[in-house]
């Protein structure tokens, strides 16, 4: 095989310019795909991290039917304390769950004593919330990066619009599920930067304050955000959790809870899907480039060397060997292009990271572009190029192996 490879490589080097052009074309294709995958992958990872680690969590648990009405934050679909205890018991038994955070979500009025506007609020247990969505405190633009009783984090746009700053006193007024209106004063502890996605412009207060504003006789929870240890296993964990929670039924035998991953809760999942689709199209384009470039070269190679093929066939070279020889030539072009493409692609990605390019994502400004490539992506991409090289060489190689030596030797 090594001798066959040596002959194949020497044959490629006979036409240096053509080999160089073809290898360069394959290399460029690999570089474009690698850079695109690294950029889109890092953008997607950043986007998902922002959504899951600063707002939604990896997955959320609600009372059955809550998500269908989530835009109205229905208090009548909150989970009672008994249900929450059952839920916490199940969650506590799952080793793959890193943290969870119960929330009371409601809509209310926000007043600075001069003006009033509406606001969506999350009542949280700060310690549990920060473990579940660790980037939340990082969104605090001004003020304290934690929240205590009687304090509120006000979203940035609301703070600007209402001319509220850290240290000011504001009033939250809300109606509970019985129609009872209540108000409570809060001290502005921080101004929270907006995040792109659902809940990105919500305010935050302590969970006990939320229960007090809503005059809950016993705490009721709107949702439980959950963080799992290995994000890649989200599908498996959510599936297992859903199966376990399906066993928790009400008196009518119907499931009490519902499980939703971030993908079901955020419209940005569609953007993530679009990125995956674009990556797929890039890979298809790469396949087309490799296929056309290598097939073209190999067809030319067979046509130019018909007499040579006749000679080696005449002296007894088996058709399989001739097929292997031309397959190896095509494969060498693919392997060469893939190796060079990976090296140049890695250099381009390194250069992009060195140049510290920033970009905006929704309300978030100056996010640092951190291009990175998964070794598995490099391997898959290289495998695609190599397999397609072999496929592209197959027809010309087969043609060469089936050539009649007598006709090939007469070829001028």
């Amino acid at each position: 095989m090594s001798k066959l490879l040596k002959i194949a490589v020497r044959n490629l080097l006979r036409y240096k310019r053509r080999t160089l052009l073809t290898t360069s074309l394959v290399m460029l294709g690999v570089v474009f795909v690698l850079v695109f995958v690294s950029l889109s992958g890092s953008f997607k990872a950043m986007m998902v991290a922002q959504i899951t680690d600063s707002m939604i969590g990896h997955l959320q648990l609600h009372r059955k039917g809550y998500v269908a009405s989530i835009d109205t934050l229905p208090q009548n679909l909150n989970m009672k304390s008994g249900a929450v205890k059952r839920l916490e018991k199940v969650l506590g038994e799952q080793p793959e769950i890193e943290a969870y955070s119960p929330r009371i979500k409601f809509g209310g009025m926000f007043s600075n004593f001069a003006e009033t506007t509406n606001i969506r609020l999350n009542g949280i247990d700060p310690e549990m919330e920060f473990e579940t969505v660790p980037l939340l405190s990082g969104r605090v633009l001004e003020g304290k990066d934690t929240i205590g009783r009687g304090e509120i984090w006000v979203p940035e746009l609301l703070a600007k619009g209402m001319k509220v700053k850290v240290g000011d006193t504001v009033v939250i007024i809300a109606t509970n599920q019985n129609g009872s209106v209540n108000g409570k004063q809060f001290l502005v502890a921080g101004v929270l930067g907006s995040a792109t996605g659902p809940g990105g412009r919500d305010g935050y207060i302590h969970i006990e304050d939320a229960a007090e504003v809503l005059r809950m006789e016993e705490p009721e929870i709107s949702e439980v955000a959950v963080r799992i240890r290995e994000f890649d296993r989200l599908g498996v964990v959510s599936g297992r959790l859903a199966a376990l929670l399906d066993k928790e039924v009400n008196q009518m035998g119907k499931p009490i809870f519902e499980v939703h991953t971030w993908e079901k809760l955020s419209p940005f999942y569609n953007i993530a899907r679009m990125i995956d689709l674009l990556t797929l199209f890039m890979k298809i384009m790469l396949i087309a480039i490799v296929l056309v470039a290598i097939m073209n070269v190999m067809i030319m190679a067979v046509y130019e060397r018909i007499r040579e093929i006749g000679t080696i066939a005449a002296i007894g070279t088996r058709p399989g060997r001739i097929l292997s020889l031309f397959l190896l030539e095509g494969l060498s072009l693919g392997v060469g292009g893939a190796i060079l493409g990976n090296l140049v692609g890695a250099a381009v990605i390194f250069g992009l990271n060195l140049s510290e390019i920033t970009y905006d994502f929704g309300q978030q400004k100056d996010l640092l572009l951190q291009a990175s490539i998964n070794p598995a992506d490099v391997l898959v991409l290289s495998a695609i190029v190599i397999v397609i090289s072999a496929v592209a060489s197959l027809q010309p190689a087969f043609k060469a192996s089936r050539m009649e030596p007598i006709k090939a030797l007469k070829h001028v």
Binding site: K3, L4, I7, R10, N11, L13, R14, R307, E308, G310, T311, I312, A313, A314, I315, G316, T317, R318, P319, R321, P405, I406, L409
Partner: protein, 233 residues
């Protein structure tokens, strides 16, 4: 036992509705270790006959035995294996592989056709390089040597697998007379050394006289066979 036995050999080619009879009922035998020439004008059927003997083509009718095998019954794969084992080829245009050195060109059939182990390959290639006087050019590529030297390499390549038969179709056509004569002398020397049957076609009368048996072909028919006194050996 004859190395070649041809019995009532016919070969027809069809071009459109026209059937061309290239060989018309040839019958002959060739003994082992002989030095045989087929002569005749262009279109007389020399190349067609050599192609049949070399298992590159099949007769339309008749029986052709080469080295005891009925070659008309061989399929594509077995034909290639038979050629690799029993027959060496020398071509008019030398047909050396341009990407291989002189050494590698001679080594090629051992490596790619017969799968001979490396030490044995090296021994046989070096012996033939020595025999054809090309040992000093062994690292050169075909485009770095003369036409005569190329044909020496081709002779060595044809002999390296120790075939029973070497076929040479107009081996001297692209060489000047002096070089052509040297190549024929080399072929005779190789025949004497390795006891291999050499069959070549030519239209050069001076070269023809070097053969020990001369078969004359005209219009696809064998019109004469003569043994040349002092020819061959």
């Amino acid at each position: 036992m004859s190395v070649i036995v041809a019995t009532n050999l016919w070969k027809n080619y069809q071009t459109g509705d026209v059937v061309i009879q290239a060989l018309k009922g040839l019958s002959f035998e060739i003994e082992p270790a002989s030095f045989v020439s087929f002569v005749g004008p262009s279109g007389s059927g020399k190349t067609t006959l050599l192609n049949l003997i070399g298992c590159l083509d099949k007769p339309t009718e008749g029986r052709l035995e080469v080295a005891g095998i009925d070659v008309s019954a061989l399929d594509r794969r077995n034909g290639a294996a038979f050629r690799g084992d029993k027959i060496g080829f020398i071509f008019q245009d030398f047909n050396l592989l341009p990407v291989l050195t002189v050494y590698e060109n001679i080594e090629y059939p051992l490596l790619m056709v017969q799968d001979v182990p490396a030490p044995e390959r090296s021994k046989r290639v070096l012996a033939l390089l020595e025999a054809v006087g090309m040992i000093e050019q062994m690292r050169k590529f075909p485009d770095q040597i003369s036409g005569g030297q190329k044909q020496r390499v081709a002779v060595a390549r044809a002999l390296v697998t120790s075939p029973e038969l070497v076929l040479a179709d107009e081996p001297t056509a692209n060489l000047d007379h002096a070089t052509a004569y040297q190549v024929i002398e080399l072929m005779k020397k190789m025949r004497d050394t390795f006891k291999t049957t050499f069959i070549f076609s030519t239209h050069d009368p001076k070269i023809v006289s070097e053969a020990e048996t001369i078969h004359t072909l005209e219009d696809g028919m064998l019109t004469g066979t003569k043994t040349v006194a002092g020819g061959g050996k």
